[in-house]
């Protein structure tokens, strides 16, 4: 009895020891900045030219300023639109590719090669990728030259002057960059599904479509949930692609300006107060949206699991 107890205690100790690196890194690099951001959001603290104003405690004034000019909602909308535009094709293509790659009956050749290739865009720095697109789609750039020489258009199409072409390009870039990553995650999830379930379904005469919708998708939910939440958090923090593509302006007429680009604008005047308030708002919005996604998915997933058990 005594012997067993001491053994358990020593295991616990190792658990805590293994946790130390994470807790330390998390505390120093994430918890402290998080708390100090919230703290800063209650102060008037910016630089006018070389003159420092503040920090003066102003309570919720920064939040009021943010809400009063209505920009917060506008930029949140921009961000979400561009994220959804990129995420929908991304998840669809990834599901399809994941299903193909993980289906042994297709006997794909060179699948390792293709898996590498679809992941490659993610290896390019987002800013470099964005720079490339900026050059490709500029008014006098190669895409316009090609379209004109093919006779599709007669005057250059101003990609950077139309709301939906800019948003579309941003979404397209995010899609290209991330669908490989998502495919690999979904594939891992699909390969974790017990093959006997597929065999059983086939024996029962289920079609491939039925198998996909009735077996693969429900069992994939935890991974799908993970993919959705991480992608949404990444999407809400979208910055580098639109920033470089529009040269920081969020043009046309600020409709491709994301929340973080707006946050970045406040750093011109080193405005830590308003910047902090904006970060806190972003944090709350992300938290709420994550919870909603999480709720919806866990509820249905639990339902699914019950069905499985019965």
């Amino acid at each position: 009895m005594k012997n067993r107890k001491s053994k358990a205690v020593s295991y616990n100790k190792w658990g805590y020891i293994f946790l130390i690196p994470f807790v330390a890194v998390y505390g120093i690099f994430q918890l402290v900045p998080l708390v100090s951001t919230i703290y800063n959001s209650f102060f008037e603290n910016y630089r006018s030219g070389l003159i420092q104003i503040g920090p003066n405690f102003v309570g919720f004034k920064n939040y009021l300023t943010l809400f009063r000019n209505g920009d917060l909602l506008f930029y949140t909308r921009n961000t979400l639109i561009m994220w959804i535009l990129g995420f929908v094709p991304q998840i669809l293509v990834s599901l399809l590719l994941g299903a193909w790659f993980s289906d042994p009956s297709l006997r794909l050749k060179f699948d390792r090669f293709f898996k590498t290739v679809i992941y490659l865009p993610n290896l390019i720095m987002a800013s470099a990728f964005s720079m490339l697109f900026f050059t490709l789609f500029s008014d006098k750039g190669p895409i316009n030259s090609i379209l004109i020489s093919l006779g599709i258009i007669s005057v250059p199409f101003k990609f950077m002057s139309h709301v939906w072409s800019v948003r579309g390009l941003v979404a397209f870039m995010n899609f290209i960059m991330w669908f490989g990553n998502t495919t690999i995650l979904l594939m891992a999830g699909m390969m974790g599904i017990d093959p006997s379930l597929y065999e059983a379904a086939q024996v029962d005469g289920a079609t491939a479509t039925q198998i996909f919708y009735r077996i693969t998708l429900p069992l994939l939910r935890p991974i799908l949930l993970y993919v959705m939440i991480t992608s949404m958090i990444g999407g809400l923090q979208m910055f580098d692609v639109p920033q470089i593509l529009t040269n920081g302006t969020g043009d046309p007429v600020r409709k491709s300006m994301t929340l973080i680009m707006y946050l970045n604008k406040h750093l011109w005047s080193k405005n830590y107060g308003l910047g902090g308030a904006l970060s806190v708002m972003l944090f709350i919005v992300t938290g709420i949206l994550s919870l909603i996604v999480f709720r919806i998915n866990t509820r249905t997933a639990e339902g699914g699991r019950h069905r499985d058990r019965t």
Binding site: L31, I53, S138, D139, R254, S290
Partner: protein
């Protein structure tokens, strides 16, 4: 149930940690502590080091290699070591060159200046360059030293254009910087296009075609019919209007729209609607495409530095390279930019900085050489007037034309009475915001509101 709570907690934590990355960047509270000290420290540091004990390192902060080239080619005794190092006597010159893009130059300069008092002697900024749009931001503070403290006398400065001194004079009338160049602007146009469309490339004849804004629009129509744009972008003419304003951007802490700026908006809208000009950002590739014949652009507006430093004169195939431009005054005289030399408070190279200022901005011989070698317009009246009358001088980019007379005339007319510390931010944001209006996406009122919002983000103390 417990598991679910834990999972939710983990989810929340994940969200928190991912956000903290960006939150952290925005909140690093480095600034406040620095400020409290600097007020007095800057004064303390302003005391020049004891005579004869000058520092061995001269730190120069600037945003491109223009001044470096001037110093290398014209300052007596300057030896180049490598791209960022030089030598004057036994003093090592260290160049800290940060491009202006995204305000990087000023961000870097500001951080270093704010820490100036605590920096070791050899790492302090000794000399830095500023532009007209944000000159007052530095001139109005104790981080710049009066040029008189560097031994520059009124006599030395007598031949400079007065407006170049107005820009860098602080609220108490103390001169805090000097410039070697004047930046009166002209209209530079392609000779070939002028011949094709107007039948002549003579500056006087072209001037008649562009004598005022009505004539400008009429000629633009002729150019359009021949397949050319009169200017690359409407932002090209911005400075011509903004330099002839009658009120500053900010009055009593409130954003103010000058009549002449509004006129720029109206005229530009008409140009864009008629297809006479584009809406590209200045310095973008689409904007500079007109430096080449294929760009199909008739004219650019700019001062000497634009013509010789920015218009691809070194690139084979450009109009400038072939000497295909000519200059004329255009609808209105104006000024654009200019670079000023400031001595940083706390420098330990007072004598050397003073000498660089004197040689580069007051020495008539050196300044005449700059005109001859680099076609810059220098800040010295007698030198410029002599050069303007010199028949043997001509600018290769302008096909051998001597345009200095026009510049001289323009320089006398320049008024910088309405500059403010907000000019840089206002100019950038105004051009940005108006783009949407020019392209017909939003009405002017909405564009103006966007502009005001963007300016308040940059300068939180302002209202509109």
């Amino acid at each position: 149930m417990k598991k679910r709570t834990l999972a939710m907690l983990l989810g929340a934590m994940m969200a928190a940690s991912m956000l903290a990355g960006c939150g952290g960047g925005s909140s690093a509270p480095a600034a406040p502590a620095a400020e409290e000290e600097t007020g007095e420290a800057a004064e303390e540091a302003a005391e020049p080091a004891a005579e004869g004990e000058e520092g061995k390192v001269l730190n120069i902060y600037c945003w491109n290699d223009e001044f470096q080239r001037r110093l290398r080619d014209h300052y007596p005794g300057y030896e180049e070591v490598d791209a960022t190092h030089g030598k004057i006597g036994d003093v090592e010159v260290v160049w800290n060159i940060t491009p202006s893009d995204d305000n990087a130059y000023q961000n870097n300069l500001d951080e270093t200046l704010l820490k100036q008092a605590d920096a070791p002697q050899d790492e302090k900024i000794d000399l830095f360059l500023i532009e007209a749009d944000y000159a007052l931001k530095y001139v109005g503070t104790d981080y710049t030293m009066p040029v008189a403290d560097f031994g520059i006398t009124d006599e030395d400065l007598a031949n400079q254009y007065k407006y170049t001194q107005d820009v860098v004079t602080d609220g108490n009338g103390v001169l805090k910087g000097v410039s070697w160049q004047g930046c009166p602007g002209v209209m530079v146009y392609s000779r070939e296009v002028a011949k094709e469309v107007f039948g002549t490339d003579e500056p006087d004849a072209i001037q008649e075609k562009f004598a005022d804004w009505d004539a400008f629009v009429a000629s633009a129509a002729e150019l359009k019919a021949a397949g050319y744009q009169v200017v690359s972008s409407v932002n090209d003419t911005y400075r011509v209007y903004s330099n002839n304003v009658t009120s500053p951007w900010v009055v009593d802490g409130k954003i103010n729209l000058d009549e002449n700026i509004k006129k720029w908006v109206d005229d530009s809208k008409a140009l864009v609607d008629a297809g006479y000009a584009g809406t590209h950002d200045l310095w973008s590739d689409d904007w500079s495409a007109g430096f080449y014949p294929e760009g199909k652009v008739f004219a650019y507006f700019g001062p000497a530095w634009l013509i010789d430093f920015c218009m691809a004169a070194d690139t084979e195939g450009s109009i400038a390279n072939a000497g295909g431009y000519a200059a004329t005054v255009g609808p209105q005289s104006f000024n654009w930019g200019g670079t000023w030399i400031c001595g940083a408070a706390g420098t330990d190279n007072v004598t050397l900085v003073g000498d660089i200022m004197r040689q580069m901005t007051c020495n008539e011989q050196i300044m005449t050489d700059i005109v001859k070698d680099d076609n810059d317009f220098v800040n010295n009246k007698p030198a410029m007037e002599a050069m303007a009358a010199d028949e043997s001088y001509g600018d290769a980019v302008l096909g051998g034309q001597n345009a200095l007379g026009m510049f001289c005339e323009g320089a006398d007319k320049i008024s910088m009475d309405y500059i403010s510390i907000y000019d840089q931010g206002c100019t950038e944001e105004f051009q940005n915001a108006m783009k949407g209006y020019f392209e017909g996406q939003i009405p002017f009122e909405k564009a103006y509101e966007d502009f005001c919002k963007a300016v308040v983000v940059k300068y939180p103390e302002l209202t509109y």
